[in-house]
């Protein structure tokens, strides 16, 4: 199979208007991927599927990734002469500037060819941001195997796949409002105190105990489950 660079050049020749970038993978796996733009996503996908030398007829895996806004601190160091220095020493002055690199959601497709038994070709698509412009073209019309996986990403990350034939939540219930796999998701706090070695959980439980005064009040008037029999009967009598 041709290398990713060759493939990128061929795609660029075929779709001159498309933006296609090579994303290198520095790990030992060294499987590089192609970042394609959403507008040409489906055309490129169709081309990859039907091109006779590639025939990527099998989309194995679709992954959603959340890249939140990142605060990047640039430190510029300048060396100035230290006025208080005794022997003309210099002082390093650090200047910090922070900028926010906007976050985005990403969908990664791993394509293989069952006919020619090669692969993977990895495609990445990125949304414009994480809040309102979260649409990407759905590849379900091209590979049906994306069906449930794109639904799952919609559910857990909130990417909206345009032209998906049945875009509903897959794993959480339909009334659910959040996208729990996002990095900034705060899960409902329902930890009780427990003896555990996990520091994070203990912290959570402690915080929970501090903020949830009403629960302590609940515990003061226990329900029939935990109360001694006398209290229980009086409790139930009070209820008509």
């Amino acid at each position: 199979m041709e290398t990713v660079e060759q493939l990128r050049d061929r795609l660029l020749a075929r779709f001159p208007a498309a933006k296609i970038e090579l994303v290198t993978n520095p790990s030992a796996a060294a499987e590089h991927s192609l970042l394609i733009d959403a507008a040409h996503g489906r055309d490129i996908a169709l081309f990859l599927r039907d091109d006779p030398t590639l025939r990527l007829d099998y989309c194995s895996n679709v992954t959603g990734i959340d890249w939140p806004d990142k605060e990047i601190t640039d430190i510029t160091k300048t060396t100035v002469a230290d006025p208080a220095g005794a022997s003309g020493a210099t002082k390093v002055v650090e200047q910090k500037t922070t900028r926010i690199q906007p976050g985005y959601l990403e969908a990664v497709y791993h394509l293989y060819s069952m006919a020619l038994k090669h692969g993977p070709v990895i495609l990445r698509l990125r949304t414009a941001n994480r809040s309102d412009a979260v649409t990407l073209p759905s590849f379900t019309p091209v590979w049906r195997s994306c069906d449930f996986q794109e639904r799952e990403i919609y559910d857990l990350y909130g990417i909206i796949f345009e032209c998906h034939p049945d875009l509903r939540r897959l794993l959480m219930w339909y009334e659910f409002k959040d996208h729990p796999m996002r990095k900034d998701y705060v899960e409902p706090d329902d930890y009780e105190w427990e003896p555990t070695a996990h520091g994070a959980i203990l912290e959570k439980a402690k915080a929970n105990r501090l903020t949830s005064a009403p629960i302590a009040g609940d515990a003061a008037t226990p329900g029939p489950g935990s109360a001694p029999p006398a209290t229980k009967s009086s409790n139930t009598e009070a209820k008509p």
Partner: protein
């Protein structure tokens, strides 16, 4: 973006029940067309999540015309245990026990898939003996899984438990071996990045070898009882057919794919581990129906026995861990890797993204059980509701992996 007619993009998308805005664009009967032909009412049946034949907490909502299925929608998530989110907050090694609980019938191969991916991510090599041990464990797991699956499938056919008892008899023998080796019957937690956790004793290997030697006897017994059974033939042949083009497009993998005649076995294609050193054949089906899917399992078990016999014969001595592999304080370089192997249910993949910290930035499981269900509706359309449980049984799902 304009909406192209979907059928022009993918002829495999023409399922009977694509919802309204797209239905008009599709060839073949759509649900609305079916509605118009009806004089009576359609009946919607919700099967599961508590149902004896849905293999766990799986739910399907079937729309019936009389007894025939005209629409079937699976509903997932009743066992969504947030494996991926938990793994993002745990170290790489800390996720290993969780992979046991993904596909709880085949913890050994799931372990391997994860170890394989981390090794790919960090460039760890695995010594010879460990490679052989991994193959032994994976193939024993395949025996357990397929034997149990056939038992469950016959349960769905209405044999009330008997074949399952035979299957569990063999399973107990194998998981006794796993327990002797790893300390746990089901949740073995055996593979490590760069090798395996425990070296089996010579007695263990001998017991396992004898078990494998006798396994074909069990298969013969099993087949004598099941394969030619008249009810079984009547209820599985020609039921739930899938064409090869459909199967490839829907990403089916494993025995379900090969039952359609598509030759795609990762043990041959990727040649991961030491599989290229082994001689075995990949059984292929013809019709892609439930019966072929059943036969695939039986034939694959026979091939697994061959692989195991060779593995016991050739098992080299030596270390079982790469001395350079680090278990504690393991931090792979930033980057990503997708590793996959041929699990008993299909292509089991892991996709890991590392940002250089001790926890993976993104940890994704490619669950074969979930993706093999893509075609469940197409397989069931036109068949009776009683067939749908048999078709589901022949796909072989484990809910821990479907919902994760």
């Amino acid at each position: 973006m304009s909406t192209p007619p979907l059928s022009s993009l993918n002829p495999q998308l023409s399922t009977g029940s694509v919802p309204f805005p797209f239905a008009a664009a599709l060839p073949g009967p759509s649900v609305r067309a079916v509605h118009d032909q009806f004089h009576g009412d359609l009946l919607e049946v919700s099967m599961g999540p508590q149902h004896p034949s849905t293999h766990g907490v799986f739910r399907m909502v079937a729309t019936l015309d009389g007894e025939q299925i005209v629409k079937l929608k699976p509903v997932f998530g009743y066992l969504h245990r947030n494996h991926e989110k938990i793994a993002e907050n745990t170290t790489y090694l800390g996720s290993m026990p969780y992979t046991d609980r993904l596909d709880y019938l085949c913890s050994m191969s799931t372990n391997w898939a994860y170890a394989l991916t981390v090794e790919k991510l960090a460039g760890i090599t695995v010594p010879d003996r460990a490679q052989y041990l991994r193959i032994i464990m994976a193939e024993l797991t395949r025996l357990v899984n397929h034997a149990c699956l056939v038992g469950f499938l016959f349960n769905d056919l209405g044999t009330s438990f008997t074949p399952l008892l035979y299957a569990f008899r063999e399973r107990e023998k194998i998981i006794d071996l796993f327990e002797a080796l790893s300390g746990s019957r089901m949740m073995c937690n055996y593979q490590r990045f760069g090798g395996c956790r425990v070296d089996p004793t010579p007695e263990w290997l001998e017991t396992a070898r004898v078990l494998v030697e006798n396994f074909p006897r069990f298969l013969d017994e099993y087949e004598r009882m099941l394969t030619g059974n008249e009810i079984m033939l009547a209820r599985t042949q020609g039921i739930g057919r899938v064409t090869p083009a459909q199967a490839v497009n829907a990403g089916l993998t494993g025995p379900v794919l090969r039952a359609c005649g598509v030759d795609y076995d990762l043990r041959k294609v990727d040649g991961y581990g030491y599989y290229p050193r082994f001689e075995f054949r990949v059984p292929l089906g013809d019709h892609g129906d439930t019966y072929d899917r059943y036969m695939m399992r039986i034939l694959e078990m026979r091939e697994s026995v061959k692989i195991l016999t060779q593995a016991f014969r050739d098992l080299p001595a030596g270390p079982i861990m790469d001395p350079k592999a680090k278990l504690r304080g393991f931090r792979p370089k930033a980057g990503e890797a997708y590793g996959r192997l041929e699990g008993p249910k299909g292509e089991l993949g892991f996709f890991l993204i590392s940002d250089g910290s001790p926890n993976p930035y993104r940890y994704r499981v490619r669950p074969p059980s979930l993706i093999n269900l893509t075609l469940l509706e197409d397989m069931c359309l036109g068949h009776t509701i009683a067939d749908s449980v048999v078709i589901l049984g022949s796909i072989d799902i484990v809910l821990g992996e479907v919902d994760r």
